[in-house]
Subunit: 378 residues, 2 copies
């Protein structure tokens, strides 16, 4: 009933490793085949024209037992299915299959044909180190909060953090364009405060405002941040969309480092049998989408990530991905100063320590607390 | 250590009902309090300035046992926390708490102050019926696929569907801007094919291309679709972001009905103890973000939604939300013609029946299959 189209494809494929649950390997293989069909033609296989069955439908390339009734299936897709777009790439990887229980994206294997479409992180680990003038030690980061403080009050905090030696002073991801500290007012004042501190200390701290802004304003707000003196941008791609972050990262008028925030992405990593692995989501995909640093909750804080999951994010931040630069893992989420030595041990040098409220708990003198923090890793 | 700001807020609140798991009510209440803090100040409560504790931190307004070690907590937030933006509203509702297991968003209670910021669906049920000239019966929808067919071949399918009496002919959500059927070429040809069929039949079918496009192109592609004769737009907000869909819905140059697709949103509804309820995600939030119809997998198809979950989506599509119009539930995902009578019974008249591959399985004559489909509900 359907014509058999003449397809003129390159033959190049990319692959996704899925972790699939099944009572038997046969059942898991059937689910893998359903993924291969669902993620491409989404059409009864037997009615699919032969040329499309051959070139477009996903191919099960490999299957490995993973224990406990789980298998790792490697499924490849035509690079043309992704259409050269990040969102469509993510759609092929997991669009509809995200709705089926027992299927998790473990990792991505992307050839240069696809990787070269996405510049990825503009700075990466080496670039951000050079930009900040910090050649070897871990970077220090904190967040401006709580919501409800005025722009002047947040700017005063930013000044103290910068004087105390924090490298990256970011907005809390809950600061948007509220009346208590409107975006433009806040960005102007906090950028100025950090700049003033830098002139006094001779160091280079940067201010990263949150630009998880409305779709019709996000690019303008990103550029405005640069004009107002911001030194980077914070984005929550779970809210704004991964492609909005990519757009900000690629914009040559902005040309600032980007830090991704995990807000609204929790359900992807809550259950080991569903969603996307920590490695792929907070490592590989954040890099594809242009983040120079990936924020996530460290083990042992207010959230529930395990130590191995955090190590997987760090691995995904530096795993070889063609020309895509390695990026900084930025563990946070209820960290305190006393945990720094152990984190340092686990993550090594190429890490951003993100401590928010914990910096305040140390004592009444914020500048002194920052110096303690800096002293622990210098 | 922190100044106590002078807050001049309206005192108006919006509320979220969370379903929270706990070994005891006390444990669940502690988790609810953590949500109230996490979703607002994300700061040690005891160090939060009193004015912010009072006005900004979420307030537990009510708690009800929900059986099986689950409680429903109603937490209210200052309307100012949402900053008048959809993404920040979603961020307050569930940003960081999405990363904590055992917390699910059940439903939203939004006052007119917030609802009036979001026009929501431009057409809604009544508007879409008027636009299509179908006053009472369920609407019929199908999808152009499989990926791999050329624009001409897809246009030929669109023509047959329109002649056969389908109301809404949408792109499969896997059609993007691939070389096999590039966006502009496909939209022009499919819109023309449907228009030609309409002139022959005297009916009004519409073509809805998929505009889940890159962030720097999505608005332009939406407008281009309108110029090329498309009658609506398909968007996957799980990929493009909810605010991109809102932007398309609000754009007066586009002014077309919008259908939302659930791609990439599966993990939010996979586990009853996490994520967002079907009611809130596919009903309330899709409406807030401007969808006129919400696509989701019906029970009994290729996916795993239960009948009660589908009924909850239908309820969320029409529950009172101030001036926001009710919208169409559009169940699909492996539906076949023989299931139409039972679905009709459950959903009533105000539903869009979405049948894709099932239309092809019926027999070799697509036009005849469409007429059978139409005959079942007229």
């Amino acid at each position: 009933m359907l014509p058999n189209p003449k397809l003129n494809l390159s033959g190049e494929r990319f692959a996704v490793i899925y972790r699939i649950a099944g009572a038997t390997e046969e059942e898991a293989r059937q689910k893998a085949f359903d993924v291969a069909v669902e993620q491409t033609v989404e059409f009864p296989y037997e009615l699919t024209p032969p040329a499309i069955q051959e070139a477009i439908v996903g191919r099960i390339e490999d299957a490995q037992p993973a224990g406990d009734g789980r298998w790792l299936f490697r499924i490849s897709y035509a690079v043309e299915s992704a259409g050269g777009e990040l969102l469509q790439l993510l759609n092929v990887i997991f669009g509809n299959s995200s709705i089926k229980p027992g299927i998790r994206v473990e990792s991505l294997e992307l050839p240069d044909t696809i990787l070269s479409l996405f510049p990825g992180p503009r700075f990466g680990v080496a670039g951000l180190r050079e930009y900040l003038g910090v050649p070897t030690r871990p970077l220090l980061c904190t967040a401006l909060k709580p919501q409800g403080l005025s722009a002047d009050q947040l700017a005063d905090l930013a000044y103290q953090f910068a004087v105390g030696g924090i490298d990256i002073i970011k907005d809390d991801h809950g600061l948007a364009d509220q009346v208590t500290s409107p975006y433009i007012d806040r960005v102007a004042k906090c950028a100025e405060a950090v700049d003033r501190a830098n002139r006094e200390t001779g160091r280079k701290a940067i201010y990263m405002p949150n630009v998880t802004a409305p779709a019709d304003r996000i690019l303008r707000y990103g550029r405005l941040a640069r004009e107002l003196g911001a030194g980077g941008l914070l984005v929550s791609p779970g809210l704004a969309g991964f492609d909005s972050m990519r757009m900000l990262a690629e914009d040559d008028q902005i040309a600032l480092p980007i830090m991704s925030h995990p807000a609204f992405l929790g359900p992807f990593v809550t259950h080991a049998d569903n969603g996307i692995s920590h490695f792929a989501l907070f490592g590989q995909i954040m890099r594809l989408a242009g983040a120079d640093a990936t924020v996530y909750p460290n083990w042992g804080g207010r959230f529930s990530f395990a130590k191995a999951e955090c190590a997987a994010i760090a691995a995904g931040s530096r795993v070889s991905m063609g020309s895509l630069k390695p990026i900084f893992p930025a563990p946070g989420g209820g960290m305190s100063l006393d945990r720094v030595p152990r984190m340092y041990e686990v993550y090594g040098q190429d890490v951003i320590f993100l401590i928010g409220g914990g910096l305040f708990k140390q004592g009444p003198d914020l500048v002194a607390n920052c110096r303690t923090f800096l002293g622990m890793i210098s």
